[in-house]
């Protein structure tokens, strides 16, 4: 490995700027969406804003910290990251450590600090998979070769499913298949993985009655406007109130406690209400830009590990943003899934910003030529 090629450059500054801009906008959006509810619930209208601001600063620190590493040194972290993820996910189920909210145990808490392990596990999986395939890309060719990746993905999925958290499970599942696909696995092997995975979805839905209820509520939310349909109806009202140009920043009507989780999972509803369809379009232009640049960075990467890392992290971001938008607009049943970089929630914000820092890091080591072919 020639050292001359390893000089770090400026990297994709536009990508980094877009990420920081989006996260900063998220802080503003969280303030707008949460101030009323924060005042009522905590007597401090800045409650969520302050938390988000801390997350943002921590996220910036994470970006800085990671941007100046050599990401290839992270290869060592592949297996430890996976183990850490699984341990954290398992900790959720230990009484006294796990925190239950809204009927699901998704958090672990130490004192005032709570962490959502599933947010960390996504990136743990990316680190592991990138490392595993990069070590011997020939593993891609056989089904047996990709089995450990499926095993890791399945283990994470099962633990998240037990919380329960269907949407994040789906995210990780999609991420797993996406990464195997991006890694270049043969179409035959791909089929062997995809078909059972797709078959599993209806089984999982039928297993838990509440999922079926949500599914029917999503078809006709007004059939149960006070129960299952409530969340979606409130989201639709917010969107409708926004029209083309929105009610103006901070002028949401739905945030006055009508819309549940206005600052987290349904922050996009408030954004759509306050900034209108034009705002939504601009927001997704920015998100689309980040995704596009992220994949571009992957494409320009000269080594397989970097490629998998950048593509995997970008893919996780893209999947989650899309699912959130699909939920908010009522295309799929409501599930608890934050809009990455924007929704309130520090674990998600810090980890996502750190992940994005990693992608930027990859861009700093890219050479100008388009080349993927060698590893190590």
């Amino acid at each position: 490995m020639g050292k001359s090629n390893r000089e770090a450059g400026r990297g994709d500054v536009l990508f980094l700027a877009a990420v920081i801009l989006l996260a900063a906008f998220g802080v503003v959006a969280v303030y707008s969406a949460s101030s009323y509810n924060a005042e009522v619930q905590y007597g401090d209208s800045l409650y969520f804003f302050k938390k988000q601001l801390i997350g943002f600063v921590l996220g910036l620190a994470a970006i800085v910290g990671i941007a100046f590493l050599d990401y290839r040194k992270l290869k060592k972290l592949g297996i430890p990251a996976l183990i850490l993820s699984l341990v954290l996910l398992a900790l959720v189920f230990i009484p006294g450590v796990g925190r239950t909210n809204y009927g699901a145990t998704r958090w672990i808490g130490v004192g005032p600090v709570t962490v959502q392990p599933s947010e960390i596990a996504k990136y743990g999986f990316v680190l592991f998979t990138a490392r595993y395939f990069a070590k011997d890309p020939a593993r891609m060719r056989t089904f047996k070769g990709i089995l450990p990746v499926i095993g890791a993905g399945a283990a994470i999925c099962v633990l998240i499913m037990l919380e329960p958290n269907m949407s994040v499970t789906m995210c990780v599942g999609a991420l797993m298949i996406g990464m195997i696909f991006l890694g270049g696995v043969s179409k035959k092997a791909l089929g062997v993985i995809c078909v059972p995975a797709l078959l599993l979805v209806p089984v999982l839905i039928v297993m838990e009655p509440y999922r079926l209820q949500r599914l029917s509520a999503f078809m006709d939310p007004w059939a149960s406007p006070k129960e299952e349909g409530y969340q979606l109806i409130q989201s639709l009202y917010a969107l409708a109130n926004g029209k083309l140009f929105g009610t103006g920043l901070f002028a949401s009507r739905q945030k006055y406690r009508f819309l549940p989780f206005a600052e987290s999972d349904f922050i996009l509803s408030v954004i759509a209400e306050e900034t209108g369809f034009m705002g939504v379009l601009l927001l997704f232009a920015l998100i689309g830009f980040i995704v596009w640049r992220g994949f571009l960075i992957a494409n320009r990467c000269d080594n397989f590990y970097g490629y998998m890392l950048a593509a995997g992290i970008t893919l996780a971001f893209a999947i989650q943003a899309s699912l959130n938008a699909l939920v908010v607009s009522g295309c799929i049943p409501p599930t608890g899934l934050p809009l990455p970089l924007v929704s309130a929630g520090n674990t998600s914000l810090v980890v996502t910003m750190a992940g994005m820092g990693l992608v930027y890091n990859v861009s700093r080591h890219n050479e100008r030529k388009n080349f993927i072919g060698y590893t190590k």
Binding site: L236, F258, V291, A318, C331, G373
Partner: protein, 582 residues
């Protein structure tokens, strides 16, 4: 050690491209959905959302009043106010509760608890209280406490015309009678005070309340004359008591345009003391049986049979029996289809012998009217029943009108048909009979009967005039004149003598119908009735009097006819009507 991978550049790039495509596709789906919701569906959704963004305090519209034809108040309002609070807007529950409990005379603790419970948004503190209490409260200007008009419906004459006027429900919307039928005019439109609030009803900071004023209801003027109504009620109440009857009813019409002057149903009840907790009793007492219930009219129906015969004869129908010259068989019985129909009289020693139509009416001789019906035939006779609107609605502006019961012509047996000639085997409403008789003697004009004259606003301006509506012609003017002459004879010389008033040319027809129960004659149960009007040459007042199940004497001539006379005498005194030459 370098391991050359088998992956070409192009495979990974293709895969990346495929993923970008897939994500673009997803973006297109949800952005399209956002576009649809925010720019197309927006209107419908926004309309629904508006409802949840505001809380409202009602502003009740004042309900229109009901007056008689001369403006006498029959249904009005007594001012009352509801007191409401929005707990989330009350700043000092303790002092507010102290004041409220003092003024409203309710328990402090109860009010304090209500005001402190922020989980509820709008609280009713007093559904109805007086103006004075509200004025005292308003002086102190308690934040979060509101007053809204909530009048009480009052009926100055209590039981007078109670079935016609009807009553209102607790929410002040009309339920029965004119209150119900004309509710859309009387009710007006309630307004609201709208407050912009959050999910649980807490006012938004800086938001102002929107006041949507109420529109008061319009007033209704009846065709009813409360003096005639009161007079008729008095007469009928006496008859109801002296005869120990099951019920006593009367309707007084103006035969020139069928406007209803009085409608009496006894027993009755006080509209200010409605027995709301006894639904069966209330249903029975509040029913306007003159419009809603049917009975077999008996001999009063012979007016219709006679009218049909005269009209057919004048038209030159050879089957009709000439009203002037035809002499009926003197036999007491007629046998139709093997069943025997008897006259109520024994026909002995020259009674009911060699009668003409006029005499048959005077004597109310059933066999003669059997002859007429059979002579005219079912087709012709049923045409007249239709023209007189039997088996059809009269078209009165009142809910729950019955159309009566008419045996279908196609399956009608002759023995039943023969009985229809003298008013049995047919069921009609009293109003149907009164209207049919009115049209038979007013020149043949059948109008839709009316209870309401006009709708007018508070400033007295007429908003809607209910004009007489001609529904059809029943008989010619000539027939009407001939018939009226005969009916005058009934009162002067025949069974209607007890309705005779010297100098006023009263005409009419008695009726005594046997009641049927479960298809058999109910022994000792009769409906005694009399239908009369005056003056015979140009009728101005027509009354149908019905005594249901009188005890003792039961002939219409002795039980019902005197009531009609008393009513007519009362009217004559009331309006100082001069005698007409005879």
């Amino acid at each position: 050690m370098n391991i050359k991978t088998e992956f070409s550049l192009s495979v990974l790039q293709k895969r990346l491209f495929a993923v970008v495509l897939a994500i673009t596709f997803l973006f297109c789906i949800f952005l399209g959905r956002f576009l649809y919701i925010q720019l197309v569906w927006e209107d419908t959704l926004h309309y629904r959302a508006l409802d949840q963004w505001t809380r409202e305090i009602p502003v009740n519209a004042g309900r229109g009043v009901i007056v008689d034809r001369n403006g006498e108040l029959l249904a009005g309002n007594r001012a009352g106010y509801g007191v409401y609070a929005r707990a989330s807007a009350v700043e000092d529950p303790a002092s507010a509760a102290r004041l409220l409990s003092r003024e409203l005379g309710t328990d402090y603790q109860t009010i304090y608890e209500k005001l402190s419970d922020r989980s509820k948004s709008e609280i009713v503190l007093a559904r109805r209280t007086t103006k004075e209490v509200v004025a005292a409260l308003a002086e102190n200007e308690v934040k979060g406490v509101y007053y809204s008009r909530n009048d009480e419906r009052v009926y100055p004459y209590g039981a007078l015309a109670s079935q016609v006027i009807g009553f209102t429900a607790y929410d002040r919307s009309g339920t029965t009678g004119v209150e119900g039928y004309y509710n859309r005019y009387l009710a007006g439109e309630n307004g609201q005070i709208l407050f912009e609030t959050d999910l649980v009803g807490v006012d938004l900071e800086g938001a102002s309340a929107a006041y949507i004023p109420a529109t008061d209801g319009l007033n209704v003027r009846l065709t009813l004359d409360y003096r005639i109504q009161a007079l008729t009620e008095e007469v009928m109440a006496r008859a109801y008591e002296t005869n120990c009857a099951k019920a006593a009813r009367a309707v007084v019409l103006d035969p020139n345009d069928f406007s209803v002057l009085a409608m009496v149903n006894l027993p009755s009840y006080d509209l200010n003391k409605i027995p709301r907790d006894d639904m069966d009793l209330l249903n029975a007492l509040s029913r306007n049986a003159l419009v809603s219930d049917v009975y077999e009219p008996g001999s009063t129906f012979k007016i219709v049979t006679a009218a049909a015969d005269i009209e057919e004869c004048l038209k030159g129908n050879p089957d009709a029996l000439d009203p002037m010259t035809y002499v009926f068989s003197s036999a007491r019985t007629r046998t139709v289809d093997g069943t025997t129909i008897k006259c109520w009289s024994d026909h002995k020693s020259g009674k009911h012998a060699n009668q003409t139509l006029a005499e048959a009416l005077n004597n109310s001789c059933n066999p003669c009217f059997v002859d007429i019906a059979l002579a005219l035939g079912k087709d012709t006779f049923y045409d007249y029943l239709a023209a007189f609107r039997f088996g059809r609605a009269t078209g009165i502006d009142f809910s729950g009108e019955s159309i009566g019961m008419l045996l279908p012509e196609s399956t009608l047996r002759d023995c039943d048909f023969a009985r229809i000639g003298f008013g049995q085997s047919i069921a009609v409403t009293p109003l149907q009979l009164a209207c049919a008789a009115a049209s038979a003697v007013n020149g043949g004009n059948y109008y839709a009967p009316r209870i309401v004259e006009e709708i007018f606003s508070a400033d007295g301006a007429v908003r809607e005039k209910m004009k007489p509506a001609l529904m059809g012609k029943t008989v010619s003017e000539q027939t009407s004149r001939i018939l009226s002459g005969m009916l005058e004879g009934v009162v002067r010389d025949g069974s209607g003598k007890k309705a005779y008033i010297d100098g006023y040319r009263v005409a009419g027809k008695t009726g005594t119908a046997q009641k049927y129960e479960n298809g058999a004659i109910a022994q000792g149960k009769y409906v005694s009735s009399f239908i009369g009007y005056f003056p015979a040459n140009a009728p101005r007042y027509l009354a149908l009097v019905i005594i249901d199940e009188p005890q003792g004497s039961y002939y219409g001539s002795t039980v019902a006819a005197p009531c009609a006379r008393e009513i007519f005498e009362g009217i004559i005194r009331m309006f100082d009507i001069p005698e007409v030459e005879s």
